[in-house]
Symmetry: C2
Subunit: 445 residues, 2 copies
């Protein structure tokens, strides 16, 4: 069951952490996502809770004896997985306690203040261990737009409306926001059919706007997860940039799918936004157009259909090297919304475990690129520039078909609904470095 809004969502509630009350950050007291941080000088990693522009050291809160007993041990861990794997009742109790502790009227203010650090003064780490990473293809507008570039007469695969299509990604490639992205070398498609491929820096480096689904409780090998229970396995959500090399991808992917075109880097935002925090922003699963088949029974749950979707406004910003040199701020190039996903996160979990695959705490699922139906919502450069044939012009006059060295890409996500405090996901950021062995002038297709 997806959580319903409760007193922890009260829009009138304020925190004694002043920056949480301004609306200027993604992290009012109604959000409280979890992350993993260390002091910027180094030292042990701790679980942190984002509040305003601060991070609260959860280990410190546990050591002060202020957390519910059921989660105190996990709150002291140096990684997030055990906390996220706790039963939903424990996590709900933890959220309630944190709301009470951070409430403007809380008596614990004096004791907790020393446990705050400025977010811009700490080092954030990959939030979970990501033992396994799988990427779905649940953005139907992306699948259709990408398919149209390859097989215009039949853009959507025949299985699309039945199968939550996915593939296994490279777990070691998953890195936290801020880590740079080195342009990959790779085999590049032959100039003519039957010719020899090239080898060198990818000339068609792309971004993909996705959300990440972070798994909490796992399932035992051989034991599928009923769709009605799938939400209990989801610990939270983040933003995810599935960096892609389109030239490498086109040449390598037949017949076994994307490999090196994806595994050079995948960036996630540092905060795991909980299902509890997102409760007010759940929406019906994407309405299936007339004539679309109903999900097969193993993927169909009334509660999930009614409230399994996510209303998250997503955006992609770019800041080029020239913009950075000129002191200019990043500009938005794409906006979309997670409600455009054809499959719900619960359906992804259930499908993934349907063959008995054991999902594990801290595993990561990507949703697939979340394009919308309009041109402004095409959520990769492949789509936006129609395979590079219609270059995009930035406000400063620079032109992009694909990413250039020095380009910085930032994903943002924000939930807004009248009567509720707006919450957000923080940033998912990465800057392109030149390929190994190149002088830094980049590569152009």
């Amino acid at each position: 069951m997806t959580a319903k809004p409760d007193s922890t969502h009260d829009a009138a509630r304020r925190s004694w952490v002043a920056s949480a009350n301004t609306g200027a950050t993604d992290f009012p007291i109604q959000n409280l996502p979890y992350g993993l941080f260390s002091e910027s000088t180094g030292g042990e990693r701790s679980i942190g809770v984002a509040i305003g522009d601060q991070v609260l050291n959860l280990r410190g809160v546990a050591e002060a004896g202020l957390l519910p007993e059921g989660c105190a041990a996990a709150a002291r861990a140096t990684l997030l997985d055990p906390l996220l794997a706790l039963p939903g009742t424990e996590l709900a109790a933890l959220r309630e306690r944190l709301v009470a502790l951070l409430d403007a009227g809380a008596e614990e203010r004096e004791r907790l203040s020393p446990l705050l650090r400025a977010q811009n003064g700490v080092t954030m780490h990959r939030p979970t261990s990501v033992g396994n990473y799988s990427d779905f293809y649940a953005g139907i507008h992306h699948a259709r737009a990408a398919g149209a570039l390859l097989t215009p007469e039949n853009p959507l695969p025949a299985n699309y409306k039945w199968v939550p299509i996915g593939y296994h990604g490279r777990a070691s490639s998953v890195q936290v926001s801020g880590a740079p992205v080195r342009r990959p070398l790779g085999q590049l498609p032959p100039a003519e059919v039957g010719g020899a491929p090239g080898y060198g820096p990818s000339g068609r480096l792309d971004l993909e706007l996705e959300m990440g689904v972070v798994l909490g409780r796992g399932n035992a090998r051989g034991e599928p997860v009923p769709v009605g229970q799938a939400a209990e396995h989801i610990a939270g959500f983040c933003l995810l940039n599935d960096w892609s090399s389109r030239d490498v991808q086109r040449w390598e992917m037949f017949p076994l799918g994307p490999f090196l075109s994806k595994s050079f880097a995948t960036t996630v935002s540092p905060w795991v936004v909980t299902p509890e925090a997102l409760a007010p922003f759940r929406v019906a699963a994407m309405a299936r157009p007339e004539g679309d088949p109903a999900p097969l029974p193993y993927l169909l749950d009334a509660a999930d259909q009614a409230a399994g979707g996510l209303d998250v406004r997503l955006s992609v910003l770019i800041r080029t090297a020239r913009m950075r040199a000129a002191g200019e701020e990043p500009v938005v190039i794409i906006t979309s919304n997670a409600r455009h996903l054809y499959w719900t996160p619960a359906q992804m979990v259930t499908h993934h475990a349907s063959n008995g695959c054991d999902l594990q705490p801290g595993d990561l699922l990507g949703t697939g690129t979340i394009s919308g139906p309009t041109e402004a919502e095409l959520s990769s450069l492949l789509e936006l520039t129609v395979g590079g044939t219609r270059p995009a012009t930035l406000p400063n006059g620079e032109v992009r078909r694909f990413l250039e060295d020095g380009d910085e890409i930032i994903l943002r996500g924000r939930c807004e609904r009248p009567g509720f405090a707006a919450i957000g996901f923080g940033e998912c950021r990465g800057t392109i470095l030149p390929a190994p062995g190149t002088a830094g002038e980049g590569a152009r297709a």
Copy 2:
């Protein structure tokens, strides 16, 4: 550089562990592979070395002060990864020391005897942590045979002779020999084009005969591995059964590749056979037929071409439930040889890291199904029965198109060369259990 035969390969050498000298096991003193075991009563895991029908507790040897200093700490670990990540010089020194300690004339016999356990009296575990698992497609005869079933007019993908094709597998699915394999549920292809898919137990459950490449030293993110140095990253080899659900695969795999058709289980043999032990059995990389392109420069190394291949005789055996009930031994249904691989393990490593992907100690690569050019060497049932159209008859009269519940599949690998002691890989074994929620009568396509 691939190791060359040295005194540790002396075929005349005998061990004070009598069973190592009979030729009846895979583990003479010239082999000495590493594994991870615990007492069958439970307790901590230890690294073990296979010798004859025994396993030597390497932690005990380290605690007795008998190992070279450089590897003593890693030898005491409760997982194999740190040991395998040691520099090649340390691993070579460890091998030499173990050969000396187990030699028939060794003075340490009395001290070491208490550290032996019968292999059939201990529990073997997955040898490494397998943080990441990737599966290649380097068996060209398999690629051609499998392709012929789908696109008879063009069986081999256009990129095949250029790209060491691979895809990311599911790390959590990798299990050690002996663990059962539950038949997966899944979406099954529609009976007619445009129809609805089915859902239920896979009716086309298959095996795939592969070898596993176990990684030792990793590479930093963004730093490719030159092919001339790739061998330094390979810690050893094992057998690998890439269980596959052909009906699920056919329906799900376009356009992003195999997913749930593979991730329900992947079985590996428990012993990591070292490159040092395999030195006498290295052969030239597969001779490329007239007209085949040379490997691109980043994949081409003279030493690797001369001795990067593996001469390992492989076999697949089956024992059905009826055979087991009748007390019958498993029978061989497939034989092949790892020298049929189109790409060398070094080429797989270099290609995998060419985009900057960080390979990590304990990672696992599958080679892909190693079919040979003859009918007896077709190394999956898909090929052997021509997609299920030509059922195979077992000696007891049973017929198989694909695997039935209760079928036990065993992979074996053996290296033989005149003048050298034969070495082997142990067994890679798994038995099919009925799908969840079925009474055990199995599923037939």
